[in-house]
Amino acid sequence: MKQVIELNVNGEPYTVAVNPWQTLNEVLREDINLTGVKIGCGSGDCGACTVLVDGRAVSSCLSLAIEMEGKQIVTVEGMAPSGETLHPIQEAFIEKGAIQCGFCTSGMEISALHLLNHNPSPTDTEIREALSGNLCRCTGYTKIVEAVAVAGQKMKEASERKPS
């Protein structure tokens, strides 16, 4: 039996009728058409499906949509601040060549966002720890770690520029 839930995705309110067995990943991709959210292993190992739920990075493949009533979701499509095309993390990934096939990128960037929101100047170890639930089979991770460090700098500079 379907149940109607209201949730906020990337700043927009949505009302969706969901079955109890539908995951957040399925609803984001199939009902809300946000296909930047990927599905890899389906068991919380690869991180390709990572989204923010109320500010926390979670695996959308292991989250039931029915539990998302009233939650604030952020996907890769909603990272960029309003009026901007890209988030500093996305800019840094491009500048540093941290993207190859791109399949892990949206999850990587969301995990990086979660890290940088809590820790604006992470060490390399902290970056690697924060991304340890995101697998990349192309890059060897070095460029990604560099991109997150650069993104942290960019975000700090942007927040210093902003009048408070």
Binding site: Q22, T23, S43, G44, R56, S59, S111, E129, G133
Partner: protein, 292 residues
């Protein structure tokens, strides 16, 4: 792969949850974070008819410490919140460390310490240290509330002492003795993500320089975490020496029953039980000395 179909319930009270378990029968499963249950459904053919979430039950996400009663972790308290809680970090650093070492950041933001215990994997990262500290589980059921030492909770891989329609609602960790030290060390094939292949958790209490008491548990080397009692006896009542640590390590190897699987061979595990026993003894001893 899609999940099989089920009814979903998110009761507001423990009593309601138990009544639901009773009315839905054996096809019902209790779920907290879902990071074990949903994987078993997707990849291991588990098909529950009903899922009963404990996440809406008020107060179950508690993490509370007081000097007299010790630490209480509720059934819905997330691994990430236990790992980062100031009181846990201060008074039970090994509990925080074990929670932080469980799975990855995403899973820690969904999964719970108690879910990790109830899943009853022999390699559960949160079990050895809590066992060593003499934690109790609080269990609600149709007949009321009961308290069970965690040491009596694990019955086999995926099997616990829970009776039908019972739910673990919290775990209670006693206040640690002033001259005690704790440690947990785990090994896995590829660092962060892989399940633990061998783990050792310990609590050691000093009286002067003498190891007055200790509790040592080895994980992933038998159907449940195993208490290495004979190894404990070698250390108990004596000062800790290199020779005693070596003997205790060898004894702990004899006490465990590792198997060969994808994570490690039985032979490797046996050798590592000895190594980890020495390491946790040394580490807990050092931290107990700091608190002397």
């Amino acid at each position: 792969m899609r999940l099989s179909h089920f009814d979903y319930h998110a009761p507001a009270t423990v009593e309601e949850a138990i009544a639901l378990l009773q009315s839905k029968g054996p096809g019902a499963r209790v779920m907290a974070g879902g990071t074990d249950l949903l994987i078993k459904m997707r990849h291991a053919g588990l098909k529950p008819k009903a899922i009963i979430s404990v996440k809406r039950i008020a107060g179950l996400d508690t993490i509370a410490f007081d000097e007299k009663r010790g630490l209480i972790i509720g059934a819905a308290a997330l691994l990430a919140d236990v790992a980062n809680h100031p009181d846990v970090l201060k008074h039970y650093p090994t509990v925080a460390q074990a929670a932080r070492g469980t799975a990855n950041a995403q899973v820690r933001n969904m999964g719970t310490v108690i879910g990790n215990l109830c899943n009853a994997s022999p390699s559960a990262d949160n079990a050895p240290a809590l066992l060593a500290m003499g934690a109790d589980v609080r269990i609600h059921g149709p007949a009321g509330v009961r308290t069970l030492p965690l040491e009596q909770f694990f019955k086999g891989p995926g099997v616990t002492a829970l009776e039908p329609f019972e739910i673990v609602t919290s775990i209670h960790v006693p206040t640690l003795a002033p001259h005690s030290g704790t440690a947990y060390i785990s090994l896995s094939a590829r660092g962060k993500l892989d399940c633990t292949a061998v783990g050792a958790g310990i609590m050691l209490t000093l009286k002067g320089r003498v190891c007055e008491n200790l509790r040592l548990f080895i994980s992933a080397c038998g159907p449940t975490p195993i208490r290495a009692r004979k190894a404990e006896e070698i250390i108990r009542g004596k000062e800790l020496t290199v020779d005693a640590m070596d003997k205790a390590g060898a004894e702990a190897s004899w006490e465990t029953r590792p198997i060969t699987d994808v994570r490690a061979s039985a032979d490797y595990r046996s050798k590592m039980v000895a190594v980890l026993t020495r390491r946790v003894l040394k580490q807990a001893h050092e931290s107990a000395l700091e608190r002397l």
